[in-house]
């Protein structure tokens, strides 16, 4: 079956007109429904739908489904939580407290909701990176990438808004710090901040807004985009491996793929339940902890060490690496600009990767994905501090910071080296310029002791010069890197 063929077949049942006198199969309810809604067409579609088998590991194809599973868990537990949660100054914290202490299985529902949120983000990020590495975003699937990318942003919004709802101290301060970043947006900053917070400061009005966002606006948007995402995938089929001119061997979607999916979902449920029962407040890693703690008190002084959830740690750390002023702008503004640029590039990858549009391998973009991962890893480890600050026993802050940077750099370099070796031997990759640049920055900052920004600028400039020089020299290896 060719790609074009599979595309034609997909979703053709949607076009069927109801045929009341048609040969609806069988009697009973199914037959009755079939005569009205042409169910046979749907089952025919499912029966013929196939998942391409390729040289790469099948596992990557399941990640989207797992993410969907966690989202469904979120919806179910979220609706249950909603039955006891009371947003409000004197009720939000108390109702969560009541829910977790007095309501039978309330602790379990909240614990599952929190665990599932984190696991969903993990599987979503893995799904996104696997799509990136397998170049599944290449035409004609650009919009699938974009819709997935928007789902990723919406999920981050879920995490951020849900964090505030228990109205405890930690959430309150983290939200104050988090929303403050918005103020750096040029021109609109203070207006946006007020819209987001429902006033100048984080108050109970902010909670109402986040609540509305978390339980109405974001779910509606996410459900819509998931629908779109799935329609795109059904319409086009799953992306076969790069370079396959004809569709490769396929696995039947039903029952083979669907039942495997179901098995995996059940396994995920098992893990989720076990985690929720044994670690009801999270694994105790910074940024992954949801013990209720004390009630938020807007008048209490903020305390040091307020950190966001783990998936925001890299942004938090990047903001810290910027000086107060840079190029006549405020440091956070420059940082925000940089983050916006990175997110922009990420969303537009299907159009930027020109080689893959011609169905040619694009090693530069594979490397770009790995470089991005290493970049995020290093920043996250820095923010996490992985115990290095305390272990150094250094009294002064600067020495402790240097120590943290050094330990984190070694970890990142180790991971980076491992990735490069595996890619070189197993996947025969030969293009490591960008991940090399990312590791160079890590080395310059963590081991040499340059500032983070200087190390970054040096690495980016070197990488750029290399690419330009290689382009002009035009040797065989270098032509590969021209993108």
């Amino acid at each position: 079956m060719t790609l074009a063929g599979s595309r034609m077949g997909a979703l053709s049942f949607l076009n069927k007109k109801p045929d009341m006198n048609g040969p609806g199969k069988g009697g009973g309810l199914l037959g009755w429904l079939d005569r009205r809604y042409q169910l046979t067409a749907l089952t025919e579609f499912l029966r013929h739908k196939e998942v391409p088998l390729g040289s790469h590991w099948m596992g990557w194809y399941y990640l989207g489904g797992i993410t969907l599973f966690f989202f469904i868990v979120q919806v179910v537990t979220g609706v249950l939580l909603l039955m006891y949660y009371q947003p409000g100054e004197t009720t939000a914290y108390e109702s969560i407290r009541f829910l977790t202490t007095k309501v039978p299985f309330g602790w379990l529902i909240r614990s599952i909701h929190s665990w599932s949120a984190h696991l969903m983000i993990i599987s979503l990020v893995l799904h996104m990176f696997s799509t990136m590495m397998l170049k599944a975003y290449r035409p004609p699937r650009e919009l699938t990438w974009v819709s997935g990318y928007l789902l990723f942003l919406l999920t981050l919004g879920f995490g951020f808004s849900g964090y505030l709802l228990p109205w405890n101290k930690l959430a309150y301060f983290a939200t104050t710090v988090g929303t403050n970043i918005v103020a750096s947006v040029p021109l609109l900053g203070s207006w946006l901040l007020q819209v987001l917070r429902g006033g100048q400061d984080v108050t109970i009005n902010t909670l109402y807004r986040f609540f509305a966002g978390h339980v109405v606006i974001l779910p509606l948007a996410v459900v819509g985009f998931i629908g779109l995402h799935i329609v795109f995938i059904q319409r086009q089929g799953m992306a076969p491996p790069l370079g396959a001119k004809v569709a490769p061997r396929g696995m039947k979607f039903f029952p083979s793929f669907a039942l495997r999916d179901l098995l995996l979902w059940l396994a995920c449920l098992m893990v989720l339940l076990a985690l929720a029962v044994f670690l009801p407040y999270g694994p105790g890693i910074p940024g992954m902890d949801w013990e209720l703690g004390q009630k938020a008190d807007p008048l209490a002084p903020a305390y040091p060490g307020i950190k966001p959830e783990w998936y925001f740690l890299w942004e938090y750390q990047l903001l810290k690496e910027f000086p107060p002023h840079l190029f006549g702008l405020e440091g956070p503004q420059v940082c925000l600009l940089l983050i916006a640029l990175m997110f922009g590039i990420w969303g537009l990858i299907p159009w930027l990767d020109r080689r893959v549009r011609r169905d040619q391998p694009s090693p530069a973009f594979s490397d770009f994905g790995w470089a991005a991962l290493l970049f995020l890893t290093y920043l996250t480890l820095l923010a996490w501090d992985i115990g290095a600050g305390a272990a150094s026993g250094a009294g002064d802050e600067l020495t402790a910071l240097r120590n943290i940077a050094r330990v984190c750099a070694w970890w990142t370099l180790g991971a980076g080296a491992l990735v490069i070796v595996v890619r070189y031997l197993r996947y025969e990759h030969r293009w490591f310029l960008l991940s090399g640049a990312a590791l160079l920055q890590v080395t310059l900052h963590g081991l040499v002791g340059l500032t983070y920004l200087l190390a970054g600028v040096i690495s980016v400039v070197l990488a750029a010069v290399w690419i330009v020089v290689a382009h002009f020299v035009g040797s065989r290896t270098d032509r590969r890197s021209e993108t």
């Binding site: 039955m83 004197t90 109702s95 407290r97 299985f105």
Partner: protein, 156 residues
Amino acid sequence: MEEQTLTTSHPKKSRRDFLDLLVGASFLGWLVTMAYPIIRYLKPLPQTGASGPTHLTRDESSKLEQNKFVIVPVSGQRVIVLQAPDQQLFAFSAKCTHEGCTITYQPAQSVLWCPCHDGRFDLNGRVLSGPPPQALAKYDARRQPDGSIVISEQKA
């Protein structure tokens, strides 16, 4: 598929039926384990809801009547409820602001008294004498029309 089913031999068919039965049964079992917590979760509780005021129990009310004061837990904090000579009700945090001992009420002098270091507070919670550095946090105590007594946190 249907044709194949027809051609399969009898023992195989029964094995398949048995397997289907097993799938169905374990699915049902799974459904029960999922449904049980949810049903328990949704069953309304006899006690009052999440926040909201704390009602004094009959026991506590009679103690208040007898001793002119009673100490009750309100959202995890110990609160002293007292009845002034003019029948007015007051409620304060029962934790002394000095060393955290539990405070009692002395009806004869109309003062709140901490036995640990002889700290005294007036009926506004203000320090009258002794080492306590701050006033006691005030709670709201109200007598309902039906005679029951309700304590709630006072909004700052």
